[in-house]
Symmetry: C2
Subunit: 281 residues, 2 copies
């Protein structure tokens, strides 16, 4: 018997599609219903076998589902969930895959009836290419998924959400929504901003010389501009805080180079290497 | 018959060792003599079959060689070449693999007897791991090697150096030493500095969440700190110029985020994506 009878996935792009593929590949769900507003996207999700059926209107799917996952752009999630809250089955677990958590989760705490079993999630997985055509059943394998309970979340809901992400192959960790946003600003949003700034500031006549270093360092700059605009603005305060810390470090490098201070420069490079080496390839 | 009877490689680390392995794998050289000051490094190069023989004293090797390649740290090359110039066979091509060119090449133009057939080179290849134990015969395949003739270089010398790097599997491009240094500051040295600054400014308690984006963006920060101290200082003026351009772009991102200007932010991200997409994976 599958772990969930009916799963509704709202938004079947790269992440939603990969959740569907993973659920189906691992035999975890009876029905996987793709919910969306764009008939063409839904058709593609069905074609990719990421879902077993699709609908433009969530209400029936929500009443049937014992697991509902929102994988739509992060600035739509809170409103979408609160608007559909009356349709959710009482026992259903409701979660999402949005890249920022504090604003959305705190907003939903105010909007949702207390019996809705919602908890925020964020799988640290993705890729430069958007769309269900790039979805993959192993997208979450070996990755970390962050689950963000609050003081109002019950333990059983937290446990169930962690179980969900672990059954998809990732390692679940929990932290509160505010800590999540601070952590991902440093580990994901700042690198994205900086990679984009390197790419954007490279003189185009030099691109023919781009080797492994430039390619690695700028790879994530190929991400979707619309999506990343939302993410960086949704996590504005934390991104600016991380950026400040980064700029301080850059100015230390700059001073060492300006002053031809090879000891200071080597110390900075060695510190960077120590931290990078600690993570591994 | 191999293309070169005797090749002397001065410095048999990652780059020198890979040159030796590539020459031997492709049957391009009769003898490949590793020249160095450290007996242990030479022993390792011999063991790795990167060279067919080794010596601590270059003089005899230089007299025998029809191709001499310096792959030592960039700040040693000019002095080492000028000190051995009298030993080079008149027909020998002498080149190097140093990461910066202008200072070294211009210095050698003053120091070398006019009959020495020297030309600067820089293969855009490498890796985070130093040492002959990480050398590989295909290190240059599909890469770009820059050859830096000056107004005093003959065409036949330029052609021979280009032929050398192409026979190792890379694509040779020529530019003058000053243009080289400006280009690599933008495409290689700045990304290294920035990758290091991201790594060094990441709070260590967040490293457990590092996913593909952080890993890609900081990968080159694992490079050798001593080597990169030399490179960044040797190309100081160009690195600072690239850094200024980068900082200007970062401050545009910062302003867009501070002002919640999603149109400006999206424009910046889209421009970065356009440039990154032009290069490919």
């Amino acid at each position: 018997m599958p772990r969930w009878n009916t799963v509704a996935i709202v938004g079947v792009g790269l992440i939603g599609g990969s959740i569907g593929l993973a659920l189906r590949a691992r035999g975890l769900a009876g029905r996987v219903i793709g919910v969306g507003r764009n008939a063409e996207s839904l058709r593609k999700a069905l074609e990719a076998k990421a879902v077993s059926e699709t609908t433009l209107h969530g209400d029936e799917a929500f009443r049937a589902a014992d697991l509902i996952v929102y994988a739509t752009p992060v600035d739509h999630i809170a409103r979408a969930i609160s608007q559909s809250a009356n349709d959710f089955a009482p026992a259903a677990l409701v979660t999402d895959a949005g890249s920022t958590k504090a604003e959305m989760v705190r907003q939903l705490e105010k909007l949702l009836p207390p019996d809705v079993r919602f908890i925020g999630s964020h799988p640290l997985a993705g890729g430069e290419k958007a769309g269900v055509e790039h979805a993959s059943s192993d997208l979450f394998e070996g990755r970390v998924s962050i689950v963000t309970p609050t003081e109002r979340t019950t333990e059983v809901v937290t446990r169930e959400a962690c179980e969900f992400w672990e059954l998809l192959g990732s390692r679940a960790v929990t932290m509160d929504p505010e800590e999540h946003d601070e952590a991902v600003a440093a580990i994901s949003h700042l690198p994205h901003l900086v990679a984009s700034a390197i790419a954007a500031s490279t003189p185009e006549e030099r691109l023919g010389l781009a080797a492994g270093g430039w390619r690695d360092t700028t790879r994530i700059a190929a991400g979707d501009a619309e999506l990343w605009t939302q993410i960086l603005l949704a996590n504005r305060a934390n991104v600016l805080k991380s950026l400040e810390r980064f700029e301080k470090t850059v100015s230390e490098f700059k001073a060492a180079i300006e002053n031809r201070d090879s000891a200071a420069l080597k110390r900075l490079l060695a510190e960077a290497k120590r931290i990078r080496d600690a993570v591994g390839s």
